[in-house]
């Protein structure tokens, strides 16, 4: 690189930083664009492909090569900020070991085959299974990383075309409990608040969320808000002293799995000290407990009585959190506006839905909801778990945009939109994720397609899952895997189809604050790779030809994802999600839009369920003209009142015991994302954390004679992993923590994890299982 070019790049880098530091002001952004005019590089607006923050990025490309990345300072919420992972996307896209040819397993080895042969074989296997064993003999397992149009297409094909609800995806492993919490409390899924709330809050309650590493851009916004507002208090509730806890005024560290008592006790203190909001409660809440499988109204008085069992002293006995800390947390929570942010620590639990309900309870009883800075807010871990899977209903128990499988009217409505044969959509939910892989192992599922995800590494209790996918046996099911790289799943699949990724295809991602954003195609996929959309559209057409899907159901209707987006918008029309106004043209021009957004001149919705903001309260079946501006109404809940749930404070499925005396919790590190399939391809990120590690508290390490670097055998009732120790005062005594991003078979921690799941959300308990440790 010559000096002139180098100086130019340095100026561009400094200008980009200045633009971000200025908080995304349009004037500075324009100045930036002028200062880095570079005839050699074309810059295109896009969105990051990693977590659910949805950071706006600018991709610098020259021909078919992506050569630079920067944050997009014009992005309304992330304002140019991105984390290290995003900046390595060019390397990840251009990695040399991308899958480029369809591969078929023959005699135990993969051989390259032509697309025509691959697609015909896939369609043939599925069609034969459906004809011989019925629609429920096939299954789809998708991803919160697929584009919205891809997930919607697959949901449409399987539920409305083939006629099976065996439609699942990896959001079942990360966000199902959050969805269950929203639905049971407010009647509909998805957060009602937005990122702007961070800037208005006086208290931020981070629960089971290592925001510093897993959502670093949001963490910086919290830091910035804290520097701007000296009254802002951060409370962290997490059994592990994660990096996020470093900024907390108060860190509550419950015994893993025993935090439900803490939430109840905080509610007890808030009401005892008159920090609740009787007027808000009277207008907006109802109080329920489950008895004999039925919800029973108990009223506010019943709730107060229920909470008598949760004095801080009693809660301390159950949770291990000192009573005075619970008192302090309740006091800080009452210094509203209060925003709670949570992720997997609350969700990946057998009590995940209940934990979410109790989180909402605190906001409802204090009226800390629906106002700037006051909201419960779950963050998602994938770029499109919200928009792509939860919203499109690409799970076994739901239909698009808040519709229910159980309601005949909803099924008929979707059959009409999709053009299905009447009666095709079944009312009975399909198999959820854990059951689906069990059924695959029992050969009840005969053919399965896995798209943009890596269950051969990411599922809990991994041995039976890997056997289900890949173990040779009589009548072994046929498993097709679409991916961009070789993974622990592709290695055991029967047919591997090379897929395009991110900047090689055009589609929509919907992130945590309901913002839908377009990522455009910038380059061609490598080799023969095709977008998942193209592959599944091709597959759908072939199933029509083979007589297992109605003729013309998909064929000829859609050429590309733009066409599909129009049907998707139509499917949202008239629902509380209504985003008819989020047209493709607007998405190309604007930095995303938050639903609901019913018309093309609507600006999108910052806060749902609030008069003057949520368009559902202005027109349509939920309209209420008696409300004052800024007043809340939970119109989607039964009787239009949010439910404060009285839930038992139960613990984890597998507590520590004499034989397995430690609790294992799993999570991530900043540099790596999920199963590491992508981030391990960037040498710089891989070297930052080349090997897995097990954090252990110094007290336990001392007692066991363990030093940092010692190899430890971690054993549960399900499996073993061998990982080096890191002695550090982060997990509490009795707990060990292991990130799950490494694919090395010896250190794959998911062999050890439990597949017990929440009875409501069916989400597995990745955060807690009992293990024993042995130095080897």
């Amino acid at each position: 690189m010559d000096n002139d070019r180098r100086d130019f790049i340095k100026t561009s880098a400094m200008a980009s930083v200045a633009a971000v530091a200025a908080g995304g002001s349009p004037a500075v952004a324009e100045e930036l664009n002028e200062s880095i005019q570079d005839s050699a590089v074309q810059w295109t607006k896009s969105v990051c492909r990693f977590c659910g923050t949805g950071c706006g990025v600018m991709i610098g490309h020259k021909g078919d090569q992506i050569i630079a990345m920067r944050g997009d300072p014009e992005h309304p919420t992330t304002k140019g900020l991105v984390c290290a992972k995003s900046l390595f996307l060019p390397k990840i896209v251009h990695s040399k070991d991308r899958l480029t040819t369809p591969m078929l397993r023959k005699d135990g080895k993969f051989v390259p085959i032509e697309w025509e042969e691959a697609m015909e074989l896939m369609a043939d296997k599925f069609a034969k299974a459906i004809k011989k064993h019925g629609p429920d003999s096939v299954a789809y397992y998708g991803s919160g990383q697929a584009m919205t149009e891809e997930s919607y297409l697959c949901n449409r094909l399987f539920k409305g075309g083939i006629g099976t609800n065996n439609v699942e995806g990896n959001p079942r492993l990360c966000m199902a409990s959050a969805a269950g919490g929203y639905v049971t409390t407010f009647g509909k899924d998805e957060p009602m608040g937005c990122y702007e709330d961070i800037w208005h809050a006086n208290t931020i309650f981070l629960v089971g969320s290592n925001t510093a590493e897993c959502h670093p851009v949001i963490f910086d916004q919290i830091l910035a808000a804290k520097q701007q507002n000296r009254r802002l208090n951060v409370i962290v509730l997490d059994p592990r002293k994660s990096p996020a806890a470093s900024i907390a005024r108060l860190h509550l560290a419950p015994t893993p799995g025993y935090d439900l008592a803490v939430f109840h006790s905080m509610a007890h203190c808030l009401i005892r000290d008159r920090h609740h909001d009787p007027e808000f409660i009277d207008k907006n809440c109802q109080f329920k407990i489950m008895q004999d499988g039925e919800p029973i109204n108990v009223g506010f008085e019943g709730y107060v009585k229920f909470l008598e069992d949760f004095t801080p002293e009693r809660a301390e006995m159950q949770s291990g959190v000192p009573a005075e800390q619970i008192e302090e947390a309740a006091k800080l929570f009452s210094y509203g506006p209060t925003m709670s942010i949570w992720t997997m620590g609350l969700n990946q639990r057998t009590r995940g839905v209940w934990a979410n309900n109790l989180m909402h309870n605190l906001h409802l009883i204090t009226g800390n909801i629906g106002k700037p800075g006051a909201t419960p807010f779950s963050m998602t871990g994938q770029p499109n778990a919200c928009g792509g899977v939860r919203d499109t209903g690409t799970l076994c128990h739901i239909l698009p945009y808040g519709r229910s499988l159980k309601k005949k009217e909803d099924r008929q409505n979707m059959e009409k939109i999709w053009g299905s044969k009447p009666g095709t959509i079944q009312s009975k939910p399909g198999l959820h994720t854990v059951e689906m892989f069990r059924a695959l192992g029992e050969n009840k599922i005969k053919a399965m397609v896995i798209l943009t995800t890596n269950p051969g590494q990411s599922m809990p209790n991994l041995h039976p899952v890997r056997d289900a996918i890949g173990k040779e046996r009589k009548d072994k099911p046929f498993v097709v895997c679409l991916d961009i790289y070789p993974t622990r799943t592709t290695e055991i699949a029967d047919l591997v189809l090379p897929a395009a990724m991110w900047s090689e295809k055009t589609g929509v991602f919907g992130m945590s604050e309901r913002r839908y954003q377009l990522h455009p195609q910038i380059k061609q996929p490598p080799g023969q790779a095709r977008s998942d959309f193209d592959i599944m559209l091709d597959f759908a057409g072939r199933l029509e030809d083979k007589g297992v899907v109605k003729k013309g159901y998909t064929k000829g209707k859609f050429k590309n994802t733009d066409d599909m987006w129009d049907e998707i918008r139509l499917a949202s029309k008239g629902t509380p999600y209504d985003f008819m106004g989020i047209t493709r043209e607007r998405l190309k021009k604007e930095r995303g839009l938050r639903w609901p957004c019913p018309t093309e001149d609507h600006p999108g919705t910052a806060r749902r369920f609030v008069k003057g903001d949520d368009p559902n309260l202005d027109a349509g079946k939920y309209a209420d003209h008696t409300l004052a501006q800024g007043e809340s109404k939970f119109f989607a809940a039964p009787d239009q009142r949010a439910v404060v749930w009285l839930r038992p404070a139960l613990g984890p499925a597998e507590p520590a015991d004499e034989e397995y005396p430690f609790i294992l919790s799993t999570g991530r590190v900043m540099e790596h994302w999920h199963s590491g399939t992508m981030t391990m391809r960037a040498e710089e990120l891989r070297r930052a954390y080349p090997h897995s590690f097990m954090e252990i508290n110094p007290k336990d390490a001392r007692e066991m004679g363990i030093r940092s670097g010692d190899m430890i055998k971690i054993t549960s009732r399900r499996g073993v992993a061998k990982i080096r120790a890191r002695v550090v005062d982060m997990p509490q005594p009795g707990m060990v923590f292991v990130p799950w991003c490494w694919e090395d078979k010896d250190s794959l921690i998911n062999f050890v994890c439990i597949d017990a799941f929440d009875p409501g959300s069916k989400q597995p308990e990745f955060k807690m299982c009992a293990v024993k440790l042995e130095k080897i």
């Binding site: 690189m1 070019r5 180098r6 790049i9 340095k10 561009s12 880098a13 400094m14 980009s16 930083v17 200045a18 971000v20 530091a21 200025a22 908080g23 610098g60 090569q65 992506i66 050569i67 630079a68 990345m69 920067r70 944050g71 140019g80 900020l81 991105v82 984390c83 290290a84 900046l87 390595f88 060019p90 390397k91 251009h94 040399k96 510093a212 670093p216 851009v217 963490f219 910086d220 830091l223 910035a224 520097q227 900024i247 540099e671 040498e683 710089e684 990120l685 070297r687 930052a688």
Partner: protein
């Protein structure tokens, strides 16, 4: 050759001492930006790996640095080599 533009968020009381410490790091230039709680950081290194290592191990651990967020990276040379 790798060039990374980043900003470091600094504890408000430690801006000046932090700036001095960061300026001592080889390959790192510090520049002022509008926000008083942040410093602009330009890292020049022989490889992206080295630049990343400077950010994660040296800059991030400097007393007073609350976090470092790279917002621009140029991999032009490395793409050409690919």
């Amino acid at each position: 050759m790798a060039i990374v533009g980043a900003f470091a968020r600094i504890e408000s009381d430690l801006i000046s001492s932090c700036q001095s410490a960061l300026e001592e790091i080889a390959g790192v230039s510090i520049f002022d930006i509008e926000d008083p709680d942040k410093l602009g950081v330009l890292v020049e290194a022989d490889s992206l790996n080295e630049a990343h290592s400077t950010i994660t191990t040296t800059i991030r651990t400097t007393p007073g640095v609350l976090g470092v967020w790279p917002v621009y990276v140029n991999t032009e040379d490395e793409q050409v080599h690919n």
